[in-house]
């Protein structure tokens, strides 16, 4: 039992990146810059063209939800304001063509706030 615990401790010391890869902090830090730009409550959309985090398609939206709570983030572009997580130069154009969204605020770190063109 002591050996097992010691092995586990060794794994933490030898392979810290394996554990740190599960940490949500860097995504949280990315999205939380939007906190001052969004209303304090409400439902906001989320779209992303970035690769999945740890092969999980919901991880990006969930990390945005965690950072921006108590606002509610939904996997949709059908809300008045939409959080866009961008990894491509053509995101703005695609968002306009596909969802009718226009840029509202660009935080400069791949995180943008779009709004409906009709608003």
């Amino acid at each position: 039992c002591i050996v097992l615990q010691a092995i586990s401790l060794f794994e933490v010391l030898a392979y810290p990146q394996k554990i740190r890869s599960q940490d949500v902090s860097r995504y949280e830090n990315k999205f939380k810059l939007l906190q001052n730009k969004l209303p304090a409550q409400g439902v906001f959309g989320f779209v992303s063209d970035c690769p999945d985090i740890n092969e999980d398609p919901s991880a990006k939206m969930f990390s945005a939800q965690y950072a921006l709570s108590p606002r509610i983030i939904v996997n949709s572009a059908d809300t008045r304001l939409v959080v866009v997580h961008s990894c491509s130069e053509t995101t703005a154009e695609l968002a306009h063509v596909k969802f009718g969204l226009i840029p509202h605020i660009d935080l400069g770190n791949g995180v943008m706030l779009f709004r409906k063109e009709t608003e």
């Binding site: 039992c1 002591i2 097992l4 615990q5 010691a6 092995i7 586990s8 401790l9 933490v12 010391l13 810290p16 554990i19 740190r20 599960q22 940490d23 949500v24 902090s25 949280e28 304090a40 409550q41 439902v43 919901s58 969930f62 990390s63 939800q65 965690y66 709570s69 108590p70 509610i72 939904v74």
Partner: protein, 468 residues
Amino acid sequence: MIFLLCLAFLAPIIAGYSVTYTLLPLQKPSFHYYVLKTTLTLGVGCGITSCSYFLILSLFGPAKIYLVMNDVISGLAFIALFLYFFRFREKLSYPAISEDISTNGKVQQILTLGFIAALICSIGNAILRSSMLPHGSWDAWTIWNLRARFLYRGGSHWTDTFSTFLAPHHPDYPLLIPAQIARFWQFIGKETQVVPAIIAICFVYSTAGLLVSAIFMLRSRSQGLLAGLVLLGTPYYLIIGISQLADIPLGFFILATLVLISFQDRMSGSPGISLLAGIMAGFACWTKNEGLLFLLTVIIARLAIIFFDADRKNKVGQMTCFVAGIAPILLILLYYKVHFAPSNDIFAGQEIQTVIGRLMDLSRYVQITKALLVFASQTIPVASLLIIYPFYAGIQLENNSKKAVITLLIILFLMCSGYFAIYVISPYNLGWHLETSLPRLLMQLWPSVIFIYFLMVNTPEEMVSKQE
């Protein structure tokens, strides 16, 4: 902030200690009894202040003044309770829970050193992992810490946490952990990840302390140290524990209930133990939905024992006290489920035909069994030791432990059956559901499995004297 953090601990400690001190019978002062009382104090205090925070929030709103007033008033009430019963305490006496068992000094020394080594490794592991994962693992930041943020940040809109838009985040889950985290944040006036990390570590080591001290009192010191070694030597237990999930706190309350049930069978004249067992079972229900299944299994097991017991009147009295302990917490849970929580994702929207179809599908049973075997194969070092050990040490059920052990075995069997059944009827992709939850569910029961195991096997002293 450190001063306010320490101050925030005051209300749970006062509440927990008053209740534990009042309900636990007087025993000869000993280190292991103090450890037991301390661990129960932390659990009870956490549960009481979590419930009161939720009630304050739902009845009066999120203003900090109500929280402070609640802490002061309830703190004074609990101190008054403590002082009132303190006058009577010395007049009451109960038979000792623990027996004087001759100890083998050398065996104990080796086990003590081994336990300390495991403890130091685990503490180092816990601190390092907590610092690398300040927000915990996936379920921590998508469920428990997320809900704490809604309670704390939401202000008058705190009920947004129950929105059906948040269905993937299980908004129906009870609030013991999120409410406790939000309570600390509100008290400190700042949202800090130190709080959920401390709460997680407290439950990990309270469970270990409770297990060691309980086996210490019911069997022997060496046996207690062995039990502690097995628990702390299970790396997955620690990993789950410091991930800021609710599974280990649930495991703590399950273990506490089973420990107190074992005590009550030795001290039939003490209603306080049964009452405290009910309180712990109630807090298990307030921690996770699995707590409700646990409560059901405890009631079924105790009713079965009552039915076959010659001393039925006494057992009925114990059951009455147990129900009296659960009642206030179940009322709070009922209020929460009726007025706030949406339907549970496992059961909501499931048609009876679909459920029956899944129950009749044998491939699901095979898949679940395979997943259990895969998990067991990953725990071969510890599992194989535990399987071989009784052949070497022997098993001996003491007369005054027999009913308790039978009760505990029935509860464990029913819990495992319940978990199995939930997987069978699960509306999710079964492979995904098993992969993401089975290890955690088993860790909820692991401390209790170790407890029952070491109640049954011979102690090192009994083993040595048998060989001699």
